[in-house]
Subunit: 122 residues, 2 copies
């Protein structure tokens, strides 16, 4: 069986995410962007929760609010995964959602920016 990681050693094929090396400066940039997006997302959930609570008219809507909060919590737990092996995918998702701008990633190496771009929707 062919070893695909050896297939084209001269074409500068993208390094697998797991093999990327993150410098301390890159880690600081990534952490700042990650925390910024998380804070923005949590603030948006706070605003929407207050709005939903204000509009409750029927008791059944209490349990809809409870379910909606649980869904937001699970979604946030799932999305904000800081392992370096998946971080470019996470950052790409946050760009796609508009939680981050390209400028927020300034300072990442080209290999990380390329990986983010590959995972960003056109």
């Amino acid at each position: 069986m062919e070893d695909r990681s050896m297939a084209s050693p001269a074409t500068h094929a993208a390094a697998p995410l797991r093999e990327m090396k993150w410098s301390p400066a890159e880690k600081a940039v990534a952490r700042r962007a990650f925390d910024l997006a998380l804070r923005r997302e949590l603030e948006a959930v706070v605003r929407e929760a207050k709005d939903r609570a204000t509009k409750i008219q029927e008791p059944s809507e209490l349990w809809e609010l409870e379910r909606w909060l649980a869904e937001r919590r699970h979604e946030i737990d799932r999305k904000y995964d800081y392992r370096y092996s998946v971080l470019p995918l996470v950052l790409a998702a946050l760009l796609n959602e508009g939680r981050l701008a390209e400028d927020d990633l300034h300072g990442l190496g080209q290999d990380k920016l390329d990986a983010v771009r590959r995972a960003t929707l056109p």
Copy 2:
């Protein structure tokens, strides 16, 4: 071993809850009181949920609100048990909490009122 249910057949000992017979009129009174208390309790939860949401300042308080709603839901599910075999105990608990007044039980037979009173805190 002595059969305690046979101990004093002439003293009008309280009938076990499970053996009480509920007339259609008594069932209607009980249902109305039960539904009234449940509606009052749910309205109180709606009011408090709105108040709690208004006061949220930190994202962590979102999950406190979620947990509080889940606790209220479980507590209400547990408390509002309409089986006739436990209904006098349920009505007694609702009197104790101030969700019902004695007048709300007007129309129940003396055996049910006695059972409610026995279960009501002094």
